[in-house]
Assembly symmetry: none
Homo-oligomer: 413 residues x 2
Amino acid sequence: MNAEIITIGDELVTGFRVDTNCAFICRQLTSAGYNIKFTTSVGDSIESMEEAFRLAMRRASLVVTTGGLGPTDDDITKKAIVKTFKRNLIFHEDILSELKKRYAIRGIDMPAINQNQALLPQGARFFPNKNGSAVGICIAEQGKIFVALPGVPQEMEQIVRDELIPYLLSLKTTQNMSSMTLKTTGIVESKLAELLAPGLKLEQGVKLAYLPGYSGVNLRVLARADSAEDAQSKSAELIAYIEKICDKFIFGREDDTLEGVVGQLLLDNDKTLSVAESCTAGQLGMTITSVSGASKYFVGGEIAYANETKIDRLGVDPEIIEQHGAVSEQCALAMAKGARKLYGTSYALSVTGIAGPDGGTEDKPVGTTWIALASAHNSFAHNFNFGTERNSNRIRASYAALELLRREILDIK
Amino acid sequence: MNAEIITIGDELVTGFRVDTNCAFICRQLTSAGYNIKFTTSVGDSIESMEEAFRLAMRRASLVVTTGGLGPTDDDITKKAIVKTFKRNLIFHEDILSELKKRYAIRGIDMPAINQNQALLPQGARFFPNKNGSAVGICIAEQGKIFVALPGVPQEMEQIVRDELIPYLLSLKTTQNMSSMTLKTTGIVESKLAELLAPGLKLEQGVKLAYLPGYSGVNLRVLARADSAEDAQSKSAELIAYIEKICDKFIFGREDDTLEGVVGQLLLDNDKTLSVAESCTAGQLGMTITSVSGASKYFVGGEIAYANETKIDRLGVDPEIIEQHGAVSEQCALAMAKGARKLYGTSYALSVTGIAGPDGGTEDKPVGTTWIALASAHNSFAHNFNFGTERNSNRIRASYAALELLRREILDIK
């Protein structure tokens, strides 16, 4: 069953607002077994809406729109529905009295403009809105379903969860699907593909997507089949293959984050962590502590931006900086060891690099980064180059540091 | 001139990823004078892409796509372009050698699969990608322009800013438009609207948009008119009014950032800065140093996450923490003063708060944040509450700290 989403509003097509509603509805409908080929955003124009509604109704058997159902003049979705489906608006006494009741509870007179909210296209079913005045509108026509929902995320989400999805499931026309995301780090997309290629078999209905991001590449397996069991077993087979080939690069699944996984490892092993950051200047500490409860293993760190700070606070020997530079294996090691001593932690991570866009030399081009790990038994530094973009360099360096620690704790070579 | 955006990827139509690329491109094209009626997301299917490409090319004179340009098998945008525009792929030696060079710098052998990245549709112009392997593709046909960009936000954004927009502006086909963004901080959207309302007059063709973000609310003035001069003068009038009313909240224009403005103020006044961060845990240092050249005024800082770190490293009196707690005016002040002494800087900023989602009490609910500033002549702390979402709390706290410093240096009350 194909579905399409149409999100409505000038704020979307001018880019003033990032459209989060679309992804929410896509997730819900995908989980309910729908296949979405297209989603569209359209500005506040009746003509454009009508065009988008007609096209989507031609291509898909379910169309869900959000936005433009408010009571004010700039909310014109209902007008576009009336034009597209050639239906009159009918006044619903029950909807109005429900609205009046809600205003009464809040001790406010209901603004007269809200009477508009009780007008619905003839023959439409409506989905109650617990959080606002605009009910969801559902029109079934020639075996196809058109649904219009309000654009306020909290209102839309409640109606989708409590009304739309149960309604669609009651129609039992949906496909079966299984999806799983494996999260990798420390390997680029093209290298992953090269590793996986030799034995990769994608059965009918199974898709593998490479989703690169700052912390690594997510591998998403999506399987569709006639039964839930078939979808499940198809995806399980591919997942097992990927895990066999890429095991050491996989740090988690689904919503796992590298900082969360490393935090849990520290907790499980009763270890503590500190950091010494030069080019990342807090990015690493910030990433580690984006996990709620990080205070159980993260003690603190030094933002050693200036060389004097590296020397005075972390005890880096000025000779090291003079001989090898602040961006060097020796300096990274001295920083990590210094932090570990200063904070008395099991592990310390350090980062020193040329974040860019300036400051590179022939020997040490922009992006050159040394990351070191110090523990009671082991200290080492690795060299990375993440490219020339300052902020992405710093984010990538932070994740690379966390990956060094993950591999150290799990003894992955 | 109408433009359409098409974002590509199964991760979008299944809702696994919120599409932020679309809004970015919409903003950029709107600012360049384009009018966007529709945007579309489409899954990884050649047929669907071809259908979306053809429809958009029929409706608009500029079509910009993102996604699906990677080297792996699931990246099929180029195949859809070849089918839609009936052009062969041509190998570009210069693109490949540029790629090889980049891998060499990183000390990695280029995976062979990347050779795909040097294949471009015949007759296409390409836009270099500074941060990745997929160049932008630009096809001009029958007075219309089709552009395909990679989907990694950082890569796409760089190409749009540095290549696509200058290219489009060079074609001089855009309407007469004047746009200006005034950047405010330290005041919420509804309060700004209230301040501006009394004398606000929006002439025909002039729009004022409130764009709230982490660092504050951007006010965007957009004026369209028959001539460039008219557009300019219409927008100038509104800008002058806003500046009169909101002066002390406006820290900059267009691409100015609060961290950049504060950095320049420190440079101009020959001052230095250090930080002491508890709940932000590096976010503030990271923000300050996202400005290239920050080493001229930023010395470093202490990530004082644990109480012992506040005591041992910053010299906070344990009595203060015992009596008032680590999230208190007294502790924030002691942290700022401690950092200023430790690093020997003109100014120090400190942040201590309950970032959430847990850890709140009735007295100190989640979001409670104390931010202090210490200088040679003046030390003070302010209390904020930014809400209950951990990461946005920390970002907002960092910007609030920078705003305290901006006002201190400029002596704004």
